[in-house]
């Protein structure tokens, strides 16, 4: 256990150091700036026209912000968490890592931590930009409170989706990103939007409910209609507990898979 933690922290430090390049920094900043820029463009057009349009945009600004930053968050996780095993096999560095005591688990956890840290960092920068833009156009009542709540929600999103994508990376080696994207669209997009019990098993439902509990109503249709479709509200702690449980399950299953599978590099 101590070796796992030491190894995971060593992997985290090593990966962060080696990944820090100008090219990657530019990509991360570009992604982080996408939501604030989009929000600014939409708001500028709307507020130039004024009247009803401007009022609508101001009403939905919080929702647009949540949606755009969520895209950045899952995209970063998809890029960083899913290729956890594949990148090592492809780079032929897998054999050097796994011949260490607890090396497979340390590598899995270390790369998970890197993915969470990078995705959270990018999402946070993006979120700050969005809050500033929304505040400029007067779309937020309490910007600091909104920022704090959404930071918490995106922190949870990074933790849980990082675990799910890391698990996918251990199971599907060659098409991990495709499977990850399919999971996002199919399960976290379509399934989570179904007015049925099955939607409650998705993480986007729990994250949405946590956001609603902390932030208040920001979804662009009536609460009454929403509650008819998705059922009554539960306390925030319940949703956070579900998210944490899913994270633990994802990581544990991932650790079992990575230690049980016989990964073979292409040259072998």
């Amino acid at each position: 256990m101590t070796n796992w933690i030491n190894g995971a922290l060593a992997t985290f430090t090593f990966e962060v150091r080696r990944s820090f390049s100008f090219h990657r920094l530019v990509v991360a900043i570009g992604l982080a700036m996408f939501p604030p820029v989009m929000l600014n463009v939409v708001a500028r057009i709307a507020f130039t026209r004024g009247g009803r349009v401007a009022a609508d945009v101001a009403q939905y600004m919080e929702f647009a912000m949540v949606f755009l930053v969520a895209l950045v968050c899952v995209l970063m996780l998809l890029l960083w968490a899913t290729p956890n095993v594949h990148s090592e096999l492809e780079g032929k560095t897998w054999n050097f890592l796994v011949i260490r005591p607890g090396g497979r688990i340390a590598c899995f956890l270390g790369k998970y931590l890197v993915a969470v840290a990078v995705a959270f960092g990018t999402s946070f920068v993006s979120l700050v930009g969005c809050v500033l833009v929304a505040q400029y156009y007067g779309g937020l009542e309490d910007p600091l409170y909104t920022l704090a709540c959404l930071t918490g929600v995106y922190g949870l999103a990074c933790i849980v989706y990082g675990a799910i994508f890391s698990l996918i990376g251990t199971i599907f080696i060659k098409r991990a990103m495709v499977v990850g994207a399919g999971f996002l669209i199919g399960v976290e997009g379509i399934l989570a939007a179904l007015p049925a019990v099955v939607s409650k098993f998705t993480m986007s439902y729990h994250l949405r409910e946590t956001g609603l509990a902390w932030l208040g109503w920001f979804v662009p249709y009536s609460e009454y209609q929403y509650r008819i479709q998705f059922g009554p509200a539960w306390p925030a702690w319940w949703h956070v507990a579900c998210i944490m449980l899913m994270t633990i399950v994802g990581l544990c299953v991932g650790m079992i898979v990575i230690t049980s599978r016989q990964y073979i590099t292409s040259e072998e």
């Binding site: 101590t2 070796n3 030491n6 190894g7 060593a10 992997t11 430090t13 090593f14 150091r17 080696r18 390049s21 780079g91 032929k92 560095t93 054999n95 050097f96 890592l97 796994v98 011949i99 260490r100 005591p101 607890g102 090396g103 497979r104 340390a106 230690t259 049980s260 016989q262 990964y263 073979i264 590099t265 040259e267 072998e268």
Partner: protein, 315 residues
């Protein structure tokens, strides 16, 4: 130290390793076999990275599959070529030592010592992408020895090394042996393995063809035919001279100025060449052993396996 009992490994319908049984006590071993003979598969099974389809593997008395604690006692230098952009050998080796449970400070100290040992001390802060193939090979060796393992397994460690690098690597492995530590050296080139004087394990087509002490292998080698290619301006005269010799089994013209000579005793043929130059007045431009002795050794062993030759009486 290592025990294999009826071990086979299948990759779908392809046999990687075929029914190998052996027991290795601590010592120095040369795992010899041509490319694709199953050496890496065997090493991966010994280290618990893949499971045998049949049979059992024991490393230090335990099944290595999912017992990664055993790996604290082993150092592996894989044959794979890898690349980490912007990472120095010191960073890389320190990281891998940390994975063994050492603190960051201890890991750096051990990594520096190991890199000094393989003569990379002066470039240990440089990015490994700037290294030559031989330097990367030495960095790979450093990560294998930095945590001070009992058993060192090297898969094709001489790949990419220049003659000086080969000499230094051999000296290092001899020192490792002299320190009383165990070594398994996998290679497809006989003379590289011979240099550290190990007990041999000869593997071909996934099967263990022979194993034994260096003297035993030399005896088998001595009875294996060797093929020499000689380039000379008087190839016909030379062929006539060699054809009359008892040591020469067969001569064949490859081109106008080139002959191929098959012999059981290569040294006798080589001794004849100066006589050919002085007596026949021909010039010898090139002499090449194109079967690299290992090929002929495997060919002999395969014949023994198939019953075409009797062991020890190969002709």
């Amino acid at each position: 130290m290592i025990e294999l009992d009826g071990v086979s490994r299948l990759y779908k319908t392809v046999i990687g390793v075929n029914d190998i049984s052996l027991s290795l006590k601590p010592g120095v071993y040369g795992l010899l076999g041509p490319n694709g003979s199953g050496k890496t598969t065997l090493i991966n099974m010994i280290l618990g990275q893949i499971k045998p389809t049949l049979g059992t593997v024991r490393l230090f008395g335990q099944n290595p599959w999912r017992r990664s604690k055993l790996l604290r006692r082993v150092g592996l230098c894989p044959a794979l070529e890898f690349s980490y952009p912007r990472v120095s050998s010191l960073q890389w080796v320190s990281y891998l030592v940390q994975m063994h449970g050492f603190s960051r400070r201890d890991a750096v100290v051990r990594a520096k010592q190991a890199l000094e040992m393989v003569n990379l001390g002066h470039v240990m802060n440089q990015a490994m992408t700037e290294y030559s193939l031989g330097m990367r090979q030495r960095a790979k060796l450093a990560q294998a020895i930095a945590h001070d393992p009992e058993l060192l397994i090297l898969d094709e460690p001489f790949n990419g090394l220049d003659p000086v690098g080969r000499f230094e690597m051999t000296a290092l492995l001899k020192k490792w042996e002299a320190d009383g530590r165990s070594l398994v050296l996998a290679s497809h080139i006989l003379h590289e393995v011979e240099a550290v004087n190990p007990s041999f394990l000869l593997i071909y087509g996934g099967r263990l063809l022979a194993s034994g002490a260096p003297d035993e292998m030399r005896r088998i080698l001595a009875s294996s035919p060797n093929v020499l290619t000689i380039k000379s301006n008087g190839a016909r005269k030379l062929a006539a001279l060699l054809a009359g010799q008892q040591a020469v089994k067969k001569t064949r013209f490859i081109g106008e100025n080139q002959i191929e000579v098959e012999t059981m005793v290569m040294s006798e043929v080589l001794n004849l060449l100066p006589r050919a130059v002085t007596e026949l007045g021909v010039s010898i431009d090139d002499v090449e052993s194109n079967d690299e002795s290992l090929k002929s050794l495997f060919s002999t062993l395969m014949k023994i396996q198939r019953g075409e030759l009797l062991a020890g009486k190969a002709q």
